[in-house]
């Protein structure tokens, strides 16, 4: 509640610093309104007048704003009797010289690529009048095949994030670019003598040919300088494992399309990692029930989307996975000897698994987890080679990285050098080691010893704060560059918009370091022009490359590999004698499916996307198994103190069925201090107890319960289906015996059992199916929907109050025993019922049935009785309890989809099958006097879905894909017994368990 400021009372002084701290302290969705609340304080106007005299009059103090709202209410009630009240005059600003091929109101699409940890994903970006508003996958690009993950979808919000650093700063001063280059030249000049002995560059993983060239140039210029790479998401174990088993560096890539049997050794290949999208694409192709359905075994410490999809899942502690793998290798005769005393519960499993693998030699895959030990990776290599998978389902290539290193080792070297005072000049480009380095390296303190510290980053973050120079980095949608995708294909990154805060790309900074400052465009063009000299007609090649979004035939070629002799020894030594070193509690660090390593911490969409398994938002927590919780007398939200090697961390507990006992899983990337107003202080920072030698799995952790509790915001409080047939599932055997098993579970009333006459649907009749056999609940659709439909971020408090706004809710249910439950996901958008309960009860006709079968939701007609939500059996309607949408921040306005109304408070909203896309397609088709073609309209969720689970189209067109999926025997409607006749239906889930393990 606002305190009505009385103008006569003397206003307490308020200075900018105060304002900053206030804003800094505000976080989450709270931040979206914190400006108002601050402006609410007496003295704010005076301050603004002092700071920005010009703007002072324009500012409405929040009290006025609130009164204004009330007046609005009143005046609308009076003048409002007319449907449209008078609007203030608006102006049209036409171009002075119209650019070609921009038609006002019509979006354009450009191909580019998004790099994460140096690995690119091919994208098509929708641009409205020069504003990138929506990301889609590039269908021609092998890494995406038209789909995207949640990170790519959310990167639009990242671009317009008002908290991005906006100025080049040095010692708190705003400085021009020239000042930096001058300072840099000076610093480097001092190095020429020593050949750059004191010069270090720190980047994340680099695949960009242009950048690699620049760095090489610099290294030749300063022979004694060093290039370090620190990437928190780098896959060191994979690299070490390859050396261990093969003796060479090699990247591994999997062809799930050709795999009948897949074994995931604590590997979440469907839900994380650079190949996630492609993996899910390929995997889901083989997930269609029928003869060729694949089988997935998962051995994992904490439930992942991969494990949730698995046909057989076993929960073991992360540290036991290597032992398990060795046992499997022994069983298959890959390892010279079997480990001693394999526990019986493993034995049965391993026997069946080994048999299954042998039966599918050359058609199986063993996938090790990125955070697993090198040993597991080595064993996986050996197994894949022995099973004859290499070259068929498992492809080994040269590393895609420009210079393969062990990220952690590289960082350690740097830290050692800094500690030894050998580093005079340190350029940290696009990386934030202060926040992401493990605690034992004590990076921040060591950094102090460096004479010249420069940092390039999207945010004025923890690292920037400790540097002499900070340069705002240009977002990938703002800058020129090039990048390789995970299987090697090179894409040119082209900007969709000029840098909002004239940030610099890594290329531009490196160019400056090389003493030849140039624009990113010139650099990339020059590099490739040089490379393509021989080919000739460069401009044509350049244009086609930009248009297609990739350079053809640049994927890495397969390379022949073989196992080293005595590769196994180290592994055997590791485990010799002991069964597995799982005494006591162990702590497993995982990258977060929302904020990854923390680089997306300030992205509201990702923070608020419920994590696939826990359904938590806005926090990380110590995930433990129910048994462990009982043993330690812990409940959800209890705060515990974790201790590892003397370092302590307080974390709230969250109980997850199917988590391995005595194993704690903790997500990285939280507890950021300078992420921005959204991400600051959200969750706890796992790096505070993380050590470089136990970077992913830390044994010997102690846990102490504290009397405190900490509220966590989850979007799903109840995890059982209560015996209701919501997600319907069968084994492959049952399915082949009775394909229509799903429909037989529930009897649906006859079509004519309704008081109202049937709708004719002369034109199109839109419908959707969601295949539960391939959906893994990865959140790509949720974020895509956020971006397409201008869905606001509401923040932790509101989520906790049950007021989240995402239009697609991915329900997650646990079935079976808590130690190893079946985990199912079910995306629930609006069902667009034929007999919609919401429609009849709305008193003002704000939600009505369209002639094409949509449940139109008319925001501007809604008065907010909320009756429709009460009467919606699927609870897919979302209500604006407050003014959730940010109406003040300019940069966020740019992110909005102009084809979708921005909702204010007091109105209901929900999914309408992306009706704006339907209307567009309808208009085009009607203009050409034809029907809408199948595939011409794709909803945002369907377009993003990497698994291709969502199919949308016209039911009246018998040839449409959706008409065919609807005819599938597995097709069933959720709560069909209510006779709502939903247009969105589900294809029942089918699993393919190994008959030998059935019992």
């Amino acid at each position: 509640m606002s305190d009505p400021t009385n103008p006569t009372t003397p206003t307490p002084a308020l200075d900018l610093e105060q304002v900053r701290t206030e804003l800094a302290s505000a976080r989450g969705r709270h931040y979206w309104r914190s400006l108002d609340e601050l402006a609410n304080r007496p003295g704010f106007d005076a301050l603004m007048a002092r700071e920005f005299p010009r703007q002072a009059p324009g500012l409405l103090d929040a009290v006025d704003r609130r009164q204004f709202m009330q007046l609005m209410g009143a005046s609308l009630a009076l003048a409002g009797l007319s449907a449209c009240t008078r609007q203030p005059a608006e102006t049209i600003m036409p171009y002075v010289k119209a650019p070609e091929d921009i038609i006002p109101g019509r979006p354009l699409y450009f191909a580019t690529a998004m790099p994460i940890g140096g690995i690119g994903t091919g994208l098509l970006v929708e641009s409205h009048m020069g504003r990138p508003t929506k990301i889609e996958g590039n269908p021609d690009h092998p890494s995406s095949l038209g789909a995207t993950d949640a990170f790519a979808q959310a990167s639009v919000l990242g671009l317009y994030d008002p908290d991005r650093s906006q100025v080049i700063s040095s010692a708190g001063e705003i400085r021009p670019w020239s000042a930096f280059t001058a300072a840099l030249d000076q610093a480097l000049a001092a190095q020429t003598a020593s050949g750059g002995a004191g010069l270090r560059i720190l980047t994340d993983n680099i695949t960009s040919p242009t950048l690699a060239g620049q760095i090489a140039a610099l290294l030749t210029k300063y022979p004694n300088s060093h290039w370090h790479q620190w990437d928190p998401i780098a896959r060191d174990s994979a690299r070490l494992g390859a050396r261990m088993a093969l003796g060479v560096d090699a990247d591994v890539r999997y062809r799930f399309v050709d795999a009948d049997v897949v074994v995931a050794l604590d590997a979440d290949f469907l839900g994380s990692g650079p190949a996630q999208v492609r993996n899910l694409r390929d995997f889901s192709v083989r997930r269609k029930p029928g003869g060729s359905m694949n089988r997935l075994y998962a051995v994992e410490s904490s439930p992942t989307v991969t494990g949730a999809r698995a046909d057989h899942r076993m929960a073991v502690k992360a540290s036991a996975v290597e032992f398990f793998a060795w046992a499997l290798a022994g069983q298959l005769g890959v390892a010279p000897q079997k480990p001693k005393n394999v526990p019986p519960e493993y034995a049965k499993w391993i026997a069946a698994l080994a048999k299954d693998l042998m039966a599918h030699r050359g058609r199986s895959i063993v996938v090790p987890g990125d955070h697993q030990s090198p040993g597991v990776h080595a064993l996986a290599h050996a197994l894949n080679i022995a099973l004859g998978n290499v070259g068929k389902t498992v492809i080994c290539t040269e590393p895609v990285a420009a210079q393969p290193v062990y990220s952690m080792a590289s960082l350690k070297e740097l830290v050692a050098a800094m500690a030894a005072g050998q580093v005079d000049v340190l350029l940290m480009l696009g990386t934030n080691p202060v926040a992401t380095a493990p605690a034992d390296l004590d990076f921040a303190a060591r950094l102090e010893k460096v004479g010249f510290r420069a940092h390039l980053g999207l945010y004025d973050d923890e690292t920037a704060q400790l540097c002499h120079w900070h340069i705002p980095e240009a977002h990938y949608l703002e800058s020129w560059g090039d990048v390789r995708s995970e299987e090697g294909t090179i894409s040119i990154i082209q900007p969709l918009i000029a840098p909002l805060y004239d940030g610099k790309s890594v290329l531009e900074v490196m160019a400056a370091a090389n003493g030849r400052p140039q624009s990113g465009y010139d650099l990339v063009r020059a590099f490739w022009g040089d490379k393509r000299k021989a080919a000739g007609d460069f401009d044509r090649w350049w244009r086609t490359t930009l248009h297609d979004g990739l350079i053809p035939d640049t994927a890495l070629a397969p390379k022949a590999i073989g196992v080293r002799s005595n590769w196994i020894d180290t592994i055997i030594q590791n485990h010799d004698g002991k069964q597995d070193d799982t005494e006591g509690l162990e702590l497993v660090y995982r990258l977060d499916s929302g904020v990854l390593d923390g680089r997306f911490a300030n992205n509201g969409w990702l923070q608020e996307a419920p994590r696939p398994i826990t359904k938590l938002t806005w926090d990380n927590a110590a995930l433990i198994s129910p048994a462990t919780a009982r043993r330690l007398k812990l409940q959800n939200e209890d705060v515990v103190e974790l201790t590892h090697r003397g370092r302590k961390l307080e974390v709230p507990v969250w109980i997850v069925p199917g988590n391995a006992d005595d194993s704690i899983t903790l997500a990285l990337g939280y507890g950021r201090k300078r992420a921005g107003r959204v991400g600051d202080g959200v969750g706890v920072d796992a790096n505070l107890i993380r050590t470089s030698d136990a970077a992913w799995i830390a044994a010997g952790v102690t846990l102490a319960k504290t009397p405190r509790t900490y509220p966590l915001a989850t979007t799903q409080e109840h995890h059982s289906m209560e015996g209701r047939h919501l997600v319907r599932e069968a084994t492959l055997a049952e399915y082949t015996h009775e394909p229509a098993f799903a429909r037989e579970l529930v009897e649906e009333p006859a079509k004519d059992m309704t008081m109202y006459p049937p709708h004719p649907y002369e034109g199109a009749a839109w419908g959707m199916t969601i295949d539960l056999a391939s959906c893994v609940g990865c959140n790509a659709c949720v974020i895509a929907c956020n971006a397409e439909n201008n869905i606001p971020v509401v923040g932790k408090e509101q989520v906790a109050a049950g007021r989240e706004m995402q239009w697609i809710r991915i329900d997650r249910y646990f079935e079976g025993e808590e130690t190893n439950p079946t985990i199912v996901h079910q995306p629930v958008p609006c069902m667009q019922c034929e007999n919609a309960p919401c429609e009849v009860v709305c008193p003002v006709n704000a939600t009505v049935h369209s002639s094409e079968g949509l449940n139109d939701m008319v925001y501007n007609r809604c008065v907010g009785t909320k009756y429709c939500s009460n009467n919606c059996p699927y609870k897919v309607r979302r209500f604006n309890f407050f003014k959730y949408q940010d109406w003040t921040t300019e940069s966020l306005k740019l992110a909005r989809n102009p084809d979708v109304t921005v909702r204010s408070y007091g109105v209901m909203e929900k999914c309408t099958y992306c009706v704006q896309r339907i209307s567009q397609a309808r208009i085009v088709s009607r203009r050409e006097d034809r029907d809408v073609r199948d595939g011409e309209v794709v909803t945002a969720c369907a377009q993003a879905c990497p698994a291709g689970s969502i199919v949308f189209g016209d039911l009246n067109d018998p040839e449409s894909r959706v008409a065919k999926t609807k005819a599938d025997a597995r097709n069933y409607s959720l709560l069909g017994d209510l006779n709502t006749r939903p247009r969105t239906t589900y294809l029942a889930s089918v699993r393919n368990p190994n008959p030998e393990l059935e019992s």
Binding site: T91, D856, V915
Partner: protein, 202 residues
């Protein structure tokens, strides 16, 4: 005062409100709008007979008809009226590369999504909604743009549609009974305007 008296007063008040809501005070219809440059449709479209599409280029392909870039003005005014003071803002805009801030005459609420191209394609004349712009010096909004007005045509298109060839003609008169011709056209051009909410509101 009798009960009937009370009823009478209420009735009159209601009727009055009704009138006010449809008055040009509320709708802004028939109010000529001052523009930074006193552009005359009467002169350009009427007297000179320049086709609508010469300036409103995207009317057939886009949602917006498109307000022309300064460039378009300069195409002619590079040659004629070079030194007319009234055109100074145009020249200034061209020189300084700053847009001319034209004032919106037809300003729909932000929750209404109107698409020119489909209306033009189905034989709704410019004139039908915008009136005789070729008679307007300063342009004004001819119709109320209230929802009932949209419905009037969306529910009975035959009253308003014209041959596709005549869409851009001003002052077209149906040769005979509009309703008959209209019905023919509706059939011929496959006109079936939707009255679903999602047609205009998303």
């Amino acid at each position: 005062m009798s009960i009937f008296g009370a009823l009478f007063v209420v009735g009159v008040a209601g009727y009055g409100l009704n009138l006010i809501n449809r008055s040009s005070y509320v709708t802004q219809a028939n109010v000529a709008i001052e523009q930074p440059v006193p552009f005359s449709h009467r002169h350009h479209a009427g007297e000179l007979g320049i086709d609508c599409r010469y300036c409103h280029t995207s009317v057939e392909i886009g949602a917006n008809a498109g307000v022309p870039p300064t460039q378009t003005c300069m195409n002619c005014h590079r040659q004629i009226w070079l030194d007319s003071p009234t055109l100074e803002p145009v020249r200034a805009s061209y020189r300084t590369d700053v847009s001319i801030p034209w004032v919106k005459v037809h300003d729909l609420p932000d929750f209404v999504y109107f698409n020119h191209s489909i209306h033009v394609a189905k034989g709704v004349g410019c004139e039908t909604c915008h009136g005789r712009v070729d008679h307007m010096n300063l342009t004004w909004q001819q119709n109320s743009l209230q929802m009932e007005w949209c419905f009037d045509c969306h529910r009975n298109p035959e009253r308003y549609v014209r041959p596709k060839s005549e869409v851009f003609t001003m002052g077209w008169q149906p040769a005979g009974d509009q309703l008959e011709i209209g019905r023919e056209l509706v059939k011929a051009n496959d006109v079936h305007p939707k009255t679903d909410c999602d047609t205009c509101h998303r």
